[in-house]
Every structure is written in structure tokens, then in C-alpha cells.
């Protein structure tokens, strides 16, 4: 209890004092995870929608693969990205290893299957409801996909949140490809891991509290937006 009390007190002190080191880590965490989530949604939602609407040979196998990838181990993803970005790797010439860009790539790969699989499920249910109407209107495949994305926007916001939650809480992949370099690639999760290994449990717990508060705040904001949107669309 003493450690916890001290952690909360320290967290409060760090937040209220506007500790620049803390906010630098928080800002980088947000930048990396939000960018990774945005990219994963940019590609993942249309792919999920296409899987929801499309019927093609091997679709079942693709769905099994996507669902299986939802549980990708972060360290394996980190290792694969590391191997590609390392100097000897096929993308080594880009010089991205140990940069926030590499961390974004790793998180994006990690959460893309989540976004694809959940989007597919959400939009497939919606498509079942709209299918006869869409076919009656004679819509093409692209128009159907776009209409489903627009009408499923509130549920898809929840999908994006699930992806963000996975990304911001992830430590293994960003540790491998980012290297946890101070002022460059240190994010909250890697900072927590570092402080714990140093025995600075209070500081680690304080960072954990900030991370939790951040996740809570983002989810609350998204939930508020979702409810406001739902009231407007009466869904």
C-alpha cells in the first residue's frame, strides 16, 4: 500500500508539475500509437469491409488467418520488423531502426489484424441488414463498402479504440525496434520496464498510473463522441 500511495503521489506531482521528461514520453507514446492506429484503420477497415462483402474462394482460410493474427506475440512482430529494418535486412537502407517510425510500423502490424477482424465482423452484420436494399439500388461493390463504413462509423470507432488500446499498452515490439532511447524512442511502456529494472518502482507505478489515465481519457472521449453520434443517427 505504501508503494501504491507513493506512486499515486508521485504521479500527481509529475503531472501537476508539468515534468518535461514525463510529457515528452507521454507525447511520443501518443504520437506513435495514434499514428499506428490511424494507419491500421486506414488500411484495415476497407480490408475488413471487403471481407465482409466479398465472397471468393479461400475466404474462410483468410478469415481464419486474420483471426489467428489477432493474437500475434508483440516480440515476434518486433523481431520480424527488426530483421527487415536492420542494416542487413531488405529495408535496412531506409535507416529506420531505432526510430519512432519503426515503432509505428511494428504497432501498425500488430494491431492491423485486430482492426481487420473486428471491422469485418461489425460490417458483415450491417451488410446482412442492408444487403437487399443495396442490391435493389443496384450498387456496385465499392459503393456498398463505402456505405457500410459510413453507416458503421460508430461501431468502427470502437474498433479503432480496441486497436489503440492494444498499441499503447504494447511493450515488446517497440522495445525491440525502438531501443528505448531516451529523448528519441522512449515511450511509457518501455519507460515503465526500464524503471522497474532499475528498482524505481514508485516511478514505474507513477508512469503506469499516467498510462491508465491516458487510456481511460481517450476511451471516455471516444465513448462520448460515439454516444453523441448515436443520438444523432438514432442507432
Amino acid at each position: 500500500m505504501g508503494d501504491l500511495s507513493a506512486a499515486f503521489a508521485l504521479a500527481l506531482d509529475l503531472v501537476l508539475s508539468g515534468d518535461p521528461a514525463l510529457w515528452e514520453v507521454v507525447a511520443l507514446s501518443l504520437r506513435v500509437s495514434l499514428t499506428a492506429t490511424a494507419l491500421a484503420c486506414l488500411f484495415g477497415i476497407p480490408i475488413g469491409a471487403a471481407l465482409a462483402v466479398g465472397r471468393f474462394p479461400g475466404r474462410g482460410a483468410v478469415l481464419v488467418l486474420v483471426n489467428a493474427c489477432m493474437g500475434l506475440p508483440p516480440v515476434v512482430v518486433g523481431l520480424l520488423v527488426y530483421l527487415h529494418l536492420s542494416r542487413a535486412g531488405p529495408l535496412g537502407f531506409l535507416g529506420l531502426l531505432y526510430t519512432p517510425t519503426a515503432m509505428i510500423a511494428a504497432q501498425c502490424i500488430l494491431i492491423a489484424p485486430i482492426v481487420i477482424a473486428l471491422s469485418r465482423q461489425v460490417l458483415e452484420d450491417l451488410h446482412a441488414e442492408y444487403d437487399a436494399q443495396f442490391r435493389s439500388l443496384g450498387l456496385g461493390r465499392a459503393a456498398v463498402v463505402w456505405a457500410l463504413i459510413v453507416d458503421g462509423r460508430h461501431a468502427l470507432a470502437t474498433v479503432a479504440l480496441a486497436g489503440f488500446g492494444r498499441a499503447v499498452a504494447e511493450v515488446g515490439a517497440v522495445m525491440i525496434v525502438g531501443g528505448n532511447i531516451d529523448h528519441l524512442t522512449r515511450v511509457m511502456t518501455t519507460a515503465i520496464a526500464l524503471e522497474t529494472s532499475r528498482g524505481e518502482l514508485a516511478l514505474a507505478l507513477a508512469l503506469g498510473v499516467v498510462l491508465m489515465a491516458l487510456a481511460l481519457g481517450v476511451n471516455a472521449a471516444a465513448q462520448g463522441a460515439r454516444l453523441a453520434g448515436a443520438r444523432h443517427a438514432a442507432v
Binding site: 437487399a132 439500388l137 459510413v150 453507416d151 443517427a233 442507432v235
Partner: protein
Amino acid sequence: MRPSEGAIPLLQARALRLERGAAVPVNGVDLTLPGGGVTALMGPNGAGKSMLLHLLHGLIPPTDGHVLWRGRPLDRLGRRAQAMVFQSPVLLRRSVAANVDFALRSRGVRDAGLRDGLLERVGLAGLGRRPARALSGGEAQRLALARALAVAPDLLLLDEATGRLDPASVAMIEAVLIAERAQGTTILMVTHDVAQARRLADSIVVMDAGRIVGDGPARRFLDAGPRAVPPPETGMRRR
């Protein structure tokens, strides 16, 4: 209602059959809609009326037989010349106006004036900004009708579109249908309401057990008496 000599009918069904497992909801239906007027499709529940409508609209493929649109097999272009109002309207999770806009844009039309005109025709003027899913049952069905009319269909199919509505909504929809008929739109509507058929229909087709068991001009048919559904052996004209 009869096609002039040599004219190509708007829609023809030939030996249309639909199997669903052991059931045969549509069993060898031949039907011709020459174009123009209102045809009421009547018959008891389970007669296959809704399934026939879905087949004619190309929403489900027949097990056997085929549908001809202007003398050619029904394809996507033919389907886009039709519109259908379902028994339970499926409205998008958008505003009333956006629902009509969606149908207009499916035909490449962006015209707020046209949209507002359609909403006014169905008595929804001023409700454009309201969420479509917050509408009452009657309003929702009128919105579905406005959306169907937005595609300017040559053939309008209605599947018991007024079956669950209050009299005021029914009257409003019927007024729109009468106006559409006057503009040359062909209408095929499923209804259980003999009075409605009397008010609207130029011809009547009666189904039972997946087959057409009678058809003819509405007045002659409805004046025949309360047993408007004749047994198959009465020699009613089949197409």
C-alpha cells in the same frame, strides 16, 4: 394492360421456379407486365407473393425459369430501372435527407431541390434533418417510398408496403402511387387489402401455393364476389 401487337413487354417471367429445401415457394410462374398501370398481387400468406417479387427484382436467382426485362434477360441495368419498397423499410443510419440523397447519388444525381421535392411528395417536408431511424413506422415507409422514387424507376415493386400502417399514411402512399401511375410508372404491389386493390389496381394477379391461380382486370375480378381467389380449374386466363 395488354401489350399492343408486337410491343415488347416491360417484364416477363417464364416458368419461374424457386426451391427452398423441400419447399417450392414459387412453382412455374408465367407472368407478363406489359408496362403501365398498377397490378395487385394477391393471395393468402405463404402463397409465394414476396418471393415472386424478389425473383422479378433479381434479388434472388430462380432455381429454374427466367425473368426478361424489355425482352432481354434481367441484368444489373434492368434491376437499376426498377425499385422496390420492402415490407419492413431498411433505412440507413443517417438523416432523412441523407437517405434520399443516397438513392439519388446511386444514380449520379446530386440535387437538393429534387430531394426536398421527393420528401414533400411523401409528406416528410421539414423532417430532412431528423435521424431516419427515429421516424414512426408510417413515416419510415414513406421515406422508403421517396427513396425508391428517387431512382425514377420504370417499375416500382411494393411488398405489402402499407400492411402495417395507419390509414393516414396509407392514404398518403396511395396518393403518391396514383400520381406515379399517371406519370407512366408501372407498379406491381403485393397487398392483402381488397379495398386497396379496388382503389388502385388496374389488374389483379392471384397466387396460391406458389402458382398463379387467376388474373384479370381488377374491376371484373373484384366484382366477382368475396371469393376472389378462384380455384385453378376455373379457367381464368393464364399468361
